[in-house]
């Protein structure tokens, strides 16, 4: 494999990683602050993608489509937080799993009912459709590069938000001691709604950005959700930094595994068998990574016990 | 017979800058009640946790019945014969009082890997459990759900479960708390007799009980043992007086 191709695949891995980060950041914040496991986070990803596809179809503007994905997912997040999720904070994890699984059923079938079973397509804006030339003569799709940049900027923004702002202080306080922030006079239920909507907006944006690369369809959020769980398990629950490192690790492992493993087995196996073994192993690579992290650090790389 | 059963050697544990256990050495000899007292936050519970398992010390060794148990997990220490009661009751709350005691009897028997024999129909386990409940005066409550017990009764159930284990030594973390005057008095009498079965390392706030019961008393202040001795020696010890009186002055 040429170096150029390898660098291109590393960039693909980074792009995948920052998308996973947008999903995982919301999940890990929601878990860290409210102690809630939200299976319906993938549905919010889907809501963002569908909102973007609908708005892009109606207006032709990609920027408006992205804004719509943020607003729609945040609104959907706020609505389910107010209607359902807030009844679950004091419940055990089983109830949370079941109720949010029920939300998935409702969201998925509801979307199918509204938009039909056929996938929608969200076009990459023409200005970003071509490749750009990176230093070293590497040709790389401009849109994918933009995703990496957006993801990086959002990651930085989140770190700043948590570290510097008033709401960030409340979030950190909420992670360590719920009674404490209540005693400080913070309106907890408002804080929870905001955090949930923020996480939802990030998921929705990720859905819209990825929707332009793949297709927009019902159920698109679930594989991403499960990968985001793997990210969180690796990074440690509640840690934004862990989510970032975990997301990049998973993105790179998955992308590079799929490219490199079949070739690796090709070195000592016949081609057909090598492809089969290599691609099967590649499909399991991130889970093996997760198992390895668990063996040595049961609470993840940046998790506290 | 003065060979100690439990021997704690230079145990230390820090949480960040806080030295919760600071070079503590203690012994528990057969037949004695050794009380551990000290102001709040002196590190008594941290010390008990390190002895019973569940919290690894930074340094030091713990020997029990001729065996180094420093690195053993909690269940292995229990099987070696350490019977523990908790400061905050730690019981299976959905179970009846009898079920909790039977659980202890199952643990004592050591063979949990039986899958088809109804456990509550096992006469031997029931007898062990009922005998322990009778000794602490909870036999009448055998069918009560544990969550419905008063705090004091839960402490007694903790003691009863520890009894079903037939341990070689007891670690009791404030068994008198929540018992009220007459309950405390009754338990004091019971523990007095219990020491001949197995020695007791007793953490207790009830000073009347401590001075009535303890053969030896160790005083823990800021994680350090500042004195060990008989009740008279401890009463007369100027450092202890200062630690306690000083606390009262500050209060």
């Amino acid at each position: 494999m040429s170096t150029l191709l390898l660098i291109e695949q590393i960039l693909n891995g980074l792009q995948f990683g920052v998308m996973l980060f947008l999903m995982a950041a919301g999940l890990t914040l929601i878990f860290g602050v409210m102690g809630l496991i939200n299976l319906a986070h993938g549905s919010l990803y889907m809501v963002g993608a569908f909102a973007a596809a609908a708005v892009a179809g109606a207006t032709g503007s990609f920027l408006l489509a992205l804004i719509a994905s943020l607003i729609a997912a945040a609104a959907a997040g706020a609505i389910i937080e107010l209607a359902v999720i807030r009844r679950l904070y004091d419940r055990d994890h089983l109830d949370q799993v079941l109720a949010t699984f029920a939300l998935i059923l409702i969201f998925s079938e509801g979307t199918r009912w509204l938009f039909g079973s056929f996938p929608l397509y969200l076009d990459i804006p023409s200005a970003l459709a071509g490749p750009v030339t990176l230093p070293g003569g590497i040709q790389y799709p401009a849109y994918r590069l933009l995703i990496i940049v957006i993801g990086g900027v959002i990651a930085l923004g989140l770190f700043q938000l948590i570290a510097r702002t008033r709401i960030g202080i409340q979030i950190r306080a909420g992670e360590s001691d719920r009674e404490m922030i209540a005693a400080l006079g913070v309106d907890i239920s408002r804080l929870y709604t905001i955090v949930f909507a923020l996480g939802a907006a990030l998921a929705g944006l990720a859905g819209a950005l990825v929707g332009a690369l793949q297709s927009v369809q019902v159920g698109m959020g679930e594989p991403v959700l499960i990968l985001a769980f793997v990210v969180i398990v690796i990074g440690g629950i509640g840690s934004i930094k862990g989510a970032f490192v975990g997301a990049l690790l998973v993105g790179l492992t998955d992308t590079l595994g799929k490219v490199l493993l079949p070739g690796l087995f090709g070195a000592f196996m016949e081609p057909a068998a090598a492809t089969a073994v290599g691609s099967s192993l590649a499909s399991m690579a991130i889970y093996i990574l997760m198992a390895a992290v668990l063996l040595f650090r049961p609470t993840g790389l940046y998790g506290s016990a | 017979m003065t060979e100690p059963l439990l021997h704690i050697e230079r145990l230390s544990k820090s949480f960040g800058a806080l030295k919760a256990t600071d070079d503590v050495s203690l012994t528990l000899k057969p037949g004695e009640i050794h009380a551990l007292i000290g102001p709040n936050g002196a590190g008594k519970s941290t010390l008990i946790k390190q002895i019973a398992g569940g919290l690894a010390p930074d340094a030091g060794r713990i020997h029990f019945a001729g065996q180094d148990i420093t690195t053993l997990p909690t269940p292995a220490r229990a099987r070696a014969g350490l019977g523990r009661t908790f400061q905050i009751s730690s019981l299976a709350m959905d179970y009846t009082v009898l079920q909790n005691a039977v659980l202890g009897a199952v643990g004592q028997r050591g063979t949990v890997w039986r899958f088809f024999k109804p456990v509550m129909g096992d006469a031997e386990l029931r007898a062990t459990a009922m005998a322990a409940l009778e000794r602490v005066g909870l036999a009448d409550h055998a069918t009560t759900r544990t969550a419905e017990l008063s705090h004091g009764q839960r402490r007694l159930l903790e003691v009863a479960v520890a009894l079903t284990l037939q341990p070689r030594a007891f670690l009791m973390d404030e068994p008198m708390a929540g018992l009220g005057a007459s309950g405390s008095k009754r338990l004091t009498g019971f523990l007095d007799g219990l020491r001949s079965e197995a020695p007791i390392l007793l953490v207790e706030h009830d000073m009347d009980a401590v001075f009535a019961l303890a053969d030896r008393i160790s005083v823990l202040v800021y994680g350090k043992v500042i004195a060990t001795g008989t009740a008279e020696e401890i009463r007369a010890n100027p450092e202890v007086r200062e630690a306690y009186l000083g606390e009262e002055d500050a209060a």
Partner: protein, 327 residues
């Protein structure tokens, strides 16, 4: 007889009575539905040992269900194509014999549960949920990307596997097989719950510290519960694949894990007969609501939401009133 014992008896009798009435009315499709309910109930009984008794919220039980399905699919596939499963180091042939397939499924499920459980049980709470989900998904993607056994398309079996002395193609005879297995497993699960092991396992759910203090290891108790649970769910998977004469990665998907959990919850978590009620209700809803609307999962979702938020004892809980489960 207490009220919940009566309910249990009714639930237990419900499936065979339905099947016999359908036989009398010559409605083989209804017998097949009753068979499906019995098999899904079996999967639920398996999950309930981990979930209800052990408090282990596994969102990866489709892994065991699907493994059981593939145990059936792979053995029968080799038997029907007359190719050996493997030749070296020793010869393994395919088979169409149900007992052999069941045994294989149980062993495969137990081994997978041992591996997944040994890793997952090092953690607890929400980590455990996410990790079991992830390992389940790992097998799902593996099944999709492994081409030898149909990949994404799955494996079809031309003729249902055989059981000595019975005609398994006759719906009522196959129902009888599934129901007898369900009854046997219910009996075993009931004995398990009241055994010393069950007492200690349920105590570890309520308070692991207490169990450690009496000298027992919660990890080992839970691991064994997880293995038994996985083995039973795999057995259900083998039967389910035999019912459909088809196995595909769908059986391994996390929706399947969620559905098995729904059977347990709709019926009432921690209740021995809960999964029977839940699976029967699920099949009933699927056919009533599924007939009314293509989007019946919306209604299923709403129902599940209502049960979780407002009727935590599930169906049996609502019928039996407030009683302590596992008596």
């Amino acid at each position: 007889m207490t009220r919940s014992a009566l309910i249990n008896l009714v639930l237990f009798a419900m499936l065979p009575v339905t099947a016999l009435i359908a036989l009398a009315l010559d409605e083989p499709f209804i017998i097949t539905l009753a068979t499906k309910a019995a098999i899904l109930a079996l999967a639920g009984v398996g999950l309930n040992i981990a979930l209800g008794l052990g408090g282990l919220v596994s969102l990866g039980h489709a892994a065991f269900f699907g493994l059981g399905g593939y145990a059936m699919g792979i053995l029968a596939h080799h038997a029907q194509t007359f190719t050996p499963l493997m030749e070296a180091p020793f010869l393994i042939e395919g088979t169409k014999s149900m007992p052999v397939i069941w045994l294989t499924a149980v062993i495969a499920g137990a081994l997978a549960a041992l591996l997944i459980g040994a890793l997952s049980l090092r953690t607890s709470g929400v980590y455990f949920i996410m990790i079991t989900l992830a390992f389940g998904q790992m097998l799902y993607y593996f099944a999709i990307s492994w081409p030898a056994y149909g990949g994404e398309d799955g494996l079809s079996i031309y003729v249902r596997n055989g059981f000595p002395g019975l005609n398994t193609l006759d719906p009522i005879q196959f129902f009888a097989i599934a129901f007898v297995i369900l009854a046997a497993v219910l009996f075993i699960a009931g004995r398990l719950a009241s055994s010393p092991f069950g007492l200690a396992l349920a105590a570890a759910r309520q308070n692991p510290e207490r169990v450690e203090t009496v000298g027992l290891s919660p990890y080992r108790l839970r691991l064994l519960a997880f293995v038994i649970s996985g083995a039973i769910t795999a057995l259900a998977g083998a039967l389910f694949a035999d019912l459909n004469r088809f196995v595909s990665p769908t059986m391994l998907s996390w929706h399947m894990s969620g559905e098995i959990m729904i059977f347990v919850i709709l019926g009432g978590v921690g209740r021995l007969y809960g999964p029977v009620a839940g699976a029967a209700l699920f099949i009933l809803l699927e056919h009533i609501l599924g007939g009314l609307s293509d989007f019946w999962h919306v209604y299923l979702g709403l129902l599940l939401l209502l049960v979780v938020l407002f009727a935590r004892g599930g169906m049996i809980g609502a019928l039996a009133g407030r009683e302590v489960a596992h008596d």
